[in-house]
């Protein structure tokens, strides 16, 4: 059969559907960039009523000087070793009450993770970038230990569980379940990171 009047017109009626399909695809897949960073709690202004006596061996002191050098427990330390040292301190379990600790049980180091405190002190001249690196390593030490315990108890990483728990898109049934697990792991290694007031340099 011969065709008359040239090629037939293409039906463009479904083009809009295709366009909407693409639009919805992009709507679903693009995530608007969210900021990320290190979450910290500042100590409240009023000191606690009861004076708590903390044994020196339960405090892990980290000092940053103005040129970015670290003084950890009265000795100079390279920043790259800080995480290992912090883990060793937190995981020590000196008094034997901590069943899950895998440290050396050194009597001269921390008693158990609930008592271990990391004290961070910095100079006014310290660069912010250095300070963040130190904060990152200390938070990383806690996260490493919490991940280890979460793996042992629940078979998945703590950081992953926490991220899912904090994500508002997670359904609340899963969130309730995660909340318990997250709090349990946090309880095993409570984050006790004290930031002393800044020293003035001379």
């Amino acid at each position: 059969m011969p065709r008359r009047g040239g090629p037939p017109e293409v039906n463009a009626g479904s083009m809009a559907d295709i366009a909407f399909l693409l639009l919805i695809f992009f709507l679903v897949t693009t995530t608007i960039e969210t900021d990320a960073g290190l979450d910290r709690m500042l100590p409240p202004m009023e000191p606690p009523d009861t004076d708590v006596v903390i044994k020196q061996k339960n405090i892990f002191t980290v000092n940053i000087n103005k040129s970015g050098q670290l003084l950890v427990e009265e000795e100079l330390l390279d920043l790259k070793q800080l995480r290992q040292r912090a883990i060793a301190f937190l995981d020590n379990g000196g008094d034997g009450s901590c069943k899950y600790c895998k440290g050396k049980r050194d009597a001269s180091s921390s008693d158990n993770p609930a008592k271990a405190i990391i004290s961070l002190k910095n100079d006014r001249e310290t660069r912010y970038g250095t300070y963040i690196t130190v904060q990152n390593e200390l938070v990383g030490a806690y996260n490493d230990l919490r991940n280890r315990e979460a793996q042992r108890l629940f078979g998945r990483d703590f950081t992953e569980m926490e991220a899912e728990f904090l994500n508002p898109e997670t359904p609340s049934s899963i969130r309730d379940d995660l909340k318990e697990k997250v709090q349990k792991v946090q309880g095993l290694f409570p984050q006790k990171l004290s930031e002393a007031e800044t020293s003035t340099s001379n």
Binding site: A12, L27, T34, Y128, T133, N136
Partner: protein
């Protein structure tokens, strides 16, 4: 032979442009969704440090921002090159931080006022002295939850 002559040559049918608006709208919507609105233009240099143990800041409505860094080139003549604090659209002193937090907190709905986070966007070359002063101010107004906003990456790159 006569069969082929029936095709009129040089007379192509017009391409339908009925779907052109759809395509344009699609592009429009795409750009509308991926664009994030900046609520204040930066007046300070703001190269954030890197960190690997980051947490995402969800729920933008409960975050207050404080920017710290050297003034950008156009402001350097007036404000010098020492790191300054930027609150909303203007430079501020350390003493104004507390008032700013209280003001912004009052603007938020009642149920959010206790769960606000202060995001500190600080240039990595700033000194800790200024940051400590800000932290002290935040403690005074009981804004204890802070987030040091960083890029995700290797933290040791900050040292260079």
């Amino acid at each position: 032979m006569a069969k082929f002559n029936k095709k009129k040559d040089g007379d192509l049918p017009a391409v339908s442009t009925a779907s052109l608006p759809d395509i344009v709208f699609m592009l429009l919507f795409f750009f509308m969704t991926v664009t994030t609105m900046k609520d204040s233009s930066l007046m300070v240099q703001n190269t954030l440090p890197n960190a690997s143990e980051v947490k995402k800041l969800e729920k933008k409505d409960r975050v207050l921002y404080i920017y710290v860094g050297k003034p950008t080139r156009e402001y350097q003549k007036v404000f010098g090159t020492e790191p300054k604090i930027q609150l909303n659209d203007k430079f501020a002193n350390v003493s104004e931080v507390g008032d700013f937090i209280l003001q912004e907190r009052a603007k938020k709905p009642q149920e959010l006022q206790n769960v606000l986070t202060t995001a500190m966007k600080v240039d990595k070359d700033a000194n800790m002295g200024l940051i400590s002063d800000i932290k002290q101010e935040l403690r005074k107004v009981n804004a204890l939850k802070v987030n040091y906003t960083t890029y995700e990456g290797d933290a040791f790159r900050n040292l260079q």
